[in-house]
Symmetry: C2
Subunit: 292 residues, 2 copies
């Protein structure tokens, strides 16, 4: 039986900023279909008589966040593990500018749950996003249809200790509750995955921190990742072991694209770090066992 798993599939925080990723978000991916009239209608002859399914779907989606950017599904936040003071402090040490980030993304103003920094929202808070919407006439020009159906794909990113299956149920129940009687709604679950976290004082993480310090000559920073690596959850569930995410790439290196590259300094720093990691690990494991 192994003591832990090491995966190099995460990024460093930025150029020459070694970091250790200790948390991943999970996912609940749903699809909603709203049906109004039993066929597409002429919006002149029928407009004013029935609830337009695009309008009804929009009204449902608009109710899923409150004015503070919080998800309104009852129970949605119940199982969210609060950030520790140590984690919040660690995130604050990361070099970050909301203004620069907003400019890079081309938005005048960021948006999200009030009371949390951008990195906290991205890594440690659950979110609800519309991934797709469609209904009616979507081609060039004007067609006066009052459509029969409108649909949306909506997914939620989860954090420990939320459960993907439980969130799917809460979502479905809430949508059915707020759907007006003028339309019919179906909700189905397309996909799910659990969130994962490796405690920052676990031996794998403390060994990785010591190794990064030696490999890069700098104290690494702690970060999480907003996306998901499903196998990490399976290692924990099936084998009961933590995964250390020790990656050396950078976010702008076109991962998975034909022109992917890696900074050579990070490549050599990564080799050093890997060697140090295996040197460090036994004493950290021993220390951990002693504590127990």
């Amino acid at each position: 039986m192994p003591d832990l798993v090491l995966i190099s599939d995460s990024s460093m925080f930025g150029e020459d900023i070694p970091s250790i990723c200790y948390g991943l978000r999970g996912l609940t991916y749903m699809q909603i279909e709203v049906t109004g009239p039993n066929k597409d209608l002429h919006s002149g002859s029928f407009g004013g008589a029935v609830h337009n399914p695009i309008q009804a779907l929009s009204e449902i989606i608009a109710q899923l966040h409150d004015k503070n950017g919080r998800v309104t599904i009852p129970g949605f936040y119940d199982d969210v593990r609060a950030l520790t003071r140590k984690e919040r402090e660690a995130f604050k040490k990361l070099p970050w500018s909301d203004r620069k980030y907003a400019a890079e993304l081309g938005v005048k103003q960021l948006y999200g749950e009030k009371g949390f920094t951008t990195l906290e929202r991205l890594w440690a808070r659950p979110t609800l996003e519309c991934n797709g919407i469609w209904g009616g006439f979507t081609g060039e020009g004007a067609k006066t249809v009052l459509p029969s159906k409108a649909s949306a794909k909506i997914s939620m990113r989860l954090v420990p200790d939320q459960s993907s299956a439980k969130i799917a149920k809460l979502f479905e129940r809430h949508i059915k509750k707020i759907a007006p009687k003028t339309i019919q709604v179906t909700v189905k679950s397309l996909h799910g995955g659990e969130p994962a976290i490796t405690p920052i004082d676990s031996p794998g993480v403390t060994a990785a921190v010591a190794a990064l310090e030696k490999g890069f000559g700098k104290t690494p920073l702690y970060q999480r990742e907003g996306g998901s690596i499903p196998i990490v959850v399976q290692f924990k569930q099936l084998l009961g072991i933590d995964t250390v995410l020790l990656g050396f790439g950078q976010p702008d290196e076109n991962a998975h694209a034909p022109d992917e590259f890696i900074n050579l300094d990070h490549f050599y720093g990564g080799i050093q770090t890997a060697v140090h990691f295996f040197n460090e690990l036994p004493s950290h494991m021993a220390g951990s066992r002693k504590k127990r």
Copy 2:
């Protein structure tokens, strides 16, 4: 210079129910595009940082009707000509069942502006309909995109004395006003047409009523139509003359479809009515001239 125009492009109210159509709605057809981030993003890595354009568009659309089904655009109803008591009474004489209509359309409950009957809403009240919406991933399965853009086609049916150009301006101003600072919105006008009404005491209409009575052996009912026949507006604007809409088809005869048909009784009744119309017209025109 002609005295009036006669068009047979409207329907009778139903089988063996001769009716005269004296009003058509106009149209203002708009398109909205909401842009959030400058490119499609990964909903895991970025979910929680920016306002999702599908969400923002849904929030905009959800604000366009109030709880009473009224359009919330300031000034939208300012130029609406109120129904006369005579018109409301005439509509009430038409054979109508909301329950039967809802069942035919497959909805549990009708929807629309409170304080008006279904026929009033369809024929004599302006409405706002979403004709199309699209954004993000709309294929089979789950793709975790946080899209850069979301769009909708929205049209409004107009009644006398609303102006298509004025309503387009009010719409654009309102959308820009309610759009949040977290996104950018563009609004464009795709198409417009004016509403039309032919007074029910005008000589063409009174002659048509007398002709229908003789042609079908029944007093005809008055109705309007929720759709538009743009040429009617142009005859009024360019020639200053009213149009009489004297049609003999029925709503369920598959107009414009390959298997279009016409009830033979209505066909022969229509021939009789047309003959009577031209016999009746001179005296009604003379009576009208005398009144002036």
